[in-house]
Structure formats: structure tokens, C-alpha cells
């Protein structure tokens, strides 16, 4: 299992449970899109609390899902981002268009 889904009040939380690279993105992309098109959430929340690594494949994946949420008139958010993943998101400019919340202090 690479992803978990929680659906509540038209909020879809997608928890990714592995390092995000090209290999994993190829595996999860279609599943995430299926969940979105079936549930039609008003907001998709990507929970990155278990994502310890992400490379540029993650940037492409996030932008693709952002476009999809736009298309159905919904919003997108990424939560619990670790500092290394945050650097990549900032470099890509995604942080300017998508709401991001850092990892809660534990």
C-alpha cells in the first residue's frame, strides 16, 4: 500500500506512505485520480507526514493533481511537510500556488 484515503464532508485526505520518486508516482497516480473523480471532493488534502523523501517526480505529480482539482472546481492543500521536501516544493514555485502546512511539532 502506497496511499491511504479518508473521506469526510467532501474532504478527501490522501496520505502517501512512501518516498515519492518516479517509481512510486507511476504506481499511485491513477489510483489518486480515480479517488478524486469518484468522490469529487471540494478539497484534496495531501498528507505528507510519512513522506521522508521527494524528488522532481513529486513536483509533476502535485501539479497534475492541482490541475485536476482546479478542473472540478476544488482546492488542494499539502500538510505535514518535512524540511527536505519543503525545499523542493519551494524551489519549484508550487508553494506559491498551493496551500502548504509544515510538519506539526511532535
Amino acid at each position: 500500500m502506497n496511499t491511504n484515503y479518508i473521506k469526510k464532508d467532501k474532504l478527501l485526505t490522501v496520505e502517501i506512505t512512501e518516498e515519492i520518486d518516479h517509481h512510486i508516482v507511476e504506481k499511485i497516480r491513477r489510483k489518486v485520480d480515480d479517488e478524486i473523480t469518484r468522490y469529487m471532493p471540494r478539497k484534496a488534502i495531501f498528507d505528507f507526514s510519512r513522506v521522508s523523501f521527494m524528488d522532481s517526480a513529486g513536483i509533476g505529480m502535485i501539479i497534475g493533481r492541482y490541475k485536476m482539482m482546479k478542473l472540478i472546481g476544488g482546492e488542494m492543500e499539502i500538510i505535514n511537510i518535512n524540511p527536505n521536501v519543503k525545499r523542493i516544493l519551494e524551489m519549484s514555485g508550487i508553494s506559491k500556488i498551493i496551500t502548504m502546512k509544515e510538519k506539526r511539532a511532535s
Binding site: H22, H23, F53, D55, A57, G60, I63, M91, S92
Partner: protein, 157 residues
Amino acid sequence: MYDNEMKLEFLSKSSNEAFARITVAAFVSVLDPTIEELADIKTAVSEAVTNCIIHGYEDAEGIVKIKARIIKNTVEIEISDTGKGIENVELARKPLYTTKANLERSGMGFTIMESFMDEVDIDSVLGLGTKITMRKKIKKHLVDIEKEEIASLGGVC
């Protein structure tokens, strides 16, 4: 002579991307890098290896080679394929430039390699393949520097 050297060869399967970055990180760990330095190296390796697989071989089967060396506190990593090569290296380095936008690539791979490593050289010949050489100096921790200072003081006394 290098302080240490290793070579790795594997099939251009996407499942080997994690294997490659974890192996290089383990090799580099003798330099006692910080978590951030290790993340930089893992990310740069992941970018270069993924490029060999999706652009060099375009998902056909090929061999990806990695050679890593430690020279004092610097790590040098060569990642190469014998795939299709890059037509315009200057263009390829530009942020957001990608020839595979249809595959949801963002064109940020080289930009990430360049910002996470000290140097990134690209050697590519159309039809023959591509070799990326990256170098990064691992900074000494403050505690190590203090230890050395104490040791050198000991020599004086």
C-alpha cells in the same frame, strides 16, 4: 589515489531508483554528513538516475552505471547511460525545460542537482549516451573542528 571508490551497475528499472540513492548515501556516510547534506545527495542521485531511465533509455532496457568516489571531504558521483543523449545541454539545464511534459515531468531535475551539489558537469553525445558528474564537499562539523584544534594544541604543549 582516491580515499575510496565504488561502482554500481543495474538495469534501467524504476524500482532501482531507491536502491541507487540509498546505496550512494550509505557509501558517503563515512564522511559523517548532516541529514540535510545526505538528503541533497540522495535527491541529486535520484534525479540523475531517473533521467537515465526515462530520457536516456525511454523505458527500454539498458544499464545505468554509477561510480562514486571520496576524495578527502569531497564526494564525486558519476551517473551514466548509453542511451539517446541530449540534443542541447544548455537548454536541458534550464529550469522548467522538459521534453516529456506529457509524462508530467516538471523540468526541474537539473535545477535541483545544481542547487543541491557544488558542481554538475554534463557530458552527452547524441546516440551514444550521457554522463553526469557531480561533486559536493561535506562540511566538517563544528565538534570535529574543535577536536582537531584540541589535538593540535596538544602537539604544541
